[in-house]
Symmetry: C2
Subunit: 146 residues, 2 copies
């Protein structure tokens, strides 16, 4: 995981460079995304931002994310069901390991794509059932709670 503080600074610098304004709402979204290990959904970001700024609208979250996508500071992980999750900590393509039950998304350590399925399964306790470069599976927690 990249240093959230540095990520935030990078994002802020990029916004300033593009002469875009740093509003409290935007700052809140940037903070959440720069610290994200959980790869939050729009809805999740919305809830968190509303904790600090109760009048924030969903539209603002969407607009901010569209903005960040345009300047390459957030990675969108879109799914077939139309839902999307976001990674502002590592905004570049990298493998994901996704639990199809609890929807947890983690970033595996492996850089190589060779024999990754077996390797990831062993290291994380996931049972791999599908893939994409995104690997889908069931995390160890969900395997126990069945």
């Amino acid at each position: 995981m990249a240093d959230p503080q540095k990520r935030l600074e990078t994002m802020l610098a990029k916004l300033k460079e593009k002469e875009m304004r740093i509003t409290p709402q935007r700052l809140a979204v940037l903070k959440i995304l720069s610290e994200s290990c959980e790869h939050p959904s729009v809805e999740r970001i919305y809830e968190q931002v509303r904790g600090d700024f109760p009048t924030t609208s969903l539209a603002t979250i969407y607009k901010t994310i569209i903005l960040l996508k345009e300047i390459g500071e957030v990675l969108e992980i879109g799914f077939s069901d139309g839902s999307s999750r976001y990674d502002g900590n590592k905004p570049y393509p990298h493998p994901h390991l996704i639990c199809t039950i609890c929807k947890t998304i983690i970033d595996p350590d492996s850089d190589s794509l060779k024999d990754v399925t077996a390797e990831l399964s062993r290291e994380t306790g996931f049972r791999i059932t599908s893939h994409r470069l995104d690997f889908f599976g069931i995390c160890s927690g969900c395997q126990k709670n069945r």
Copy 2:
């Protein structure tokens, strides 16, 4: 590519097994999907089916695809923008090579995931710009037409 004829038979057998009816519209959708090299969109399938059955509705195409997904006879390739493409010829996870300009989707031959990016780029003329297990890039045709 799998033999379209056999794929069609497999799909039909599965429908019968589940006691689902084989209607002309469904048969048309199955045929298109079993022969798909182009990984058609719902809209594309709709247009083709309407060639033979002009009264067919979009809802029927959607319902048929949902059905096929449930019985594992079609692979959905969903994108961040909400659009989806379908593969009924190889309804199991496999790598895709996607042109971000003309939206062509092809199935590369390689089975290994090692050094695939460079390999695919060389073999197909794509310039790889992103990936997923789905690899995104620009196909040779679009590189020429710039």
